[in-house]
Symmetry: C2
């Protein structure tokens, strides 16, 4: 294991922080590590029917580019990841979901961030409002799942959580692990 | 799009940095964003035969836990991602690969990091040395691909790049996109 000696400096913004820690490695060597202290997060694969999902176009500051992704966001303090998924879907698309099915929990950037993302599939969608998250979302699209797979394999979609959500939904469906009433 | 006004503070360690930026959002609202400035990275799905891969056990400081992952690491300045993949495989496992096949390039943490990871499949493995990366790797294991899939679906493997590597190799093989001589 690796042991923290002390935190040397911290940056904070948007409910998460970056810390620079002095650390002892398993071999006894000393080094410094940057560690992102991030809230848990939820992402949603929102099915409007068994073959089409909602996706959002948004500007991503970290890579200075617009992307096509499934809806997602950080959990508020004390909020469950299921509630977070429902809220983010509603804020980013205006839709509510009748059914939610957990697909996977994973660490996207295990080398430097403690962020854990839980990905859900959602069905029984009903449009309640206009999307509210104008600061971040520029457009909502309905896309055929086969087209999403093609966009992944052509390298157009390069967002990790979208790839994992689509891939694991597909393999869980083939393994019979999606509830039979999910598309009821 | 979002526009940077200025960088307010920076942390640096291990060849990457975390920056706190003052930013204007697309709606004109001002906010602050943490942005990880990270080198590109490579990961390798190393096949010892068509059904078994090498994996590494290592301590992950950011989540304070030992994990089971495919070999991976940051590119050195000026190093191609293909060369990086070969070097990281060699350092972490002691093996060299005769063949390398690019599977996918993606952003693992698109909300706050510019890190781009290219995942390769490798075959024609030959053991050259003992693994050299004692600071980070505690054990090397050979695991059947079906067992890796089970470990993913049981939630034991929670590392994003490992899930994407295994899932996309599987779907590329089904789509006929893996070169026929890859396992020659």
């Amino acid at each position: 294991m690796e042991r923290k000696l002390r935190t040397l400096a911290t940056l904070s913004a948007n409910h998460f922080s970056a810390q620079l820690d002095a650390v002892v490695l398993r071999t006894g060597r000393h080094t410094e590590r940057i560690r992102i202290e991030h809230p848990q997060a939820a992402a949603v694969l929102p099915f409007v029917d068994p073959n089409h999902i909602l996706m959002v176009r948004q500007w991503r500051y970290a890579i200075a580019r617009e992307t096509l992704e499934i809806p997602a966001g950080k959990a508020d303090p004390g909020e469950s990841l299921e509630t977070c998924a429902v809220r983010e879907l509603h804020e980013e698309t205006g839709y509510e979901a009748a059914r939610l099915c957990s697909l996977f929990r994973y660490y996207p950037a295990i080398g430097y961030s403690n962020e854990l993302i839980e990905i859900f599939a959602a069905s029984g969608l009903l449009r309640r409002h206009q999307a509210q998250d104008e600061d971040e979302i520029s457009r909502i699209e309905v896309i055929c799942l086969d087209d999403v797979q093609d966009l992944i394999h052509r390298g157009v979609i390069q967002d990790g959580k979208t790839v994992i959500g689509v891939s694991l939904f597909d393999s869980k469906r083939k393994r019979g692990e999606i509830p039979t009433d999910f598309f009821a």
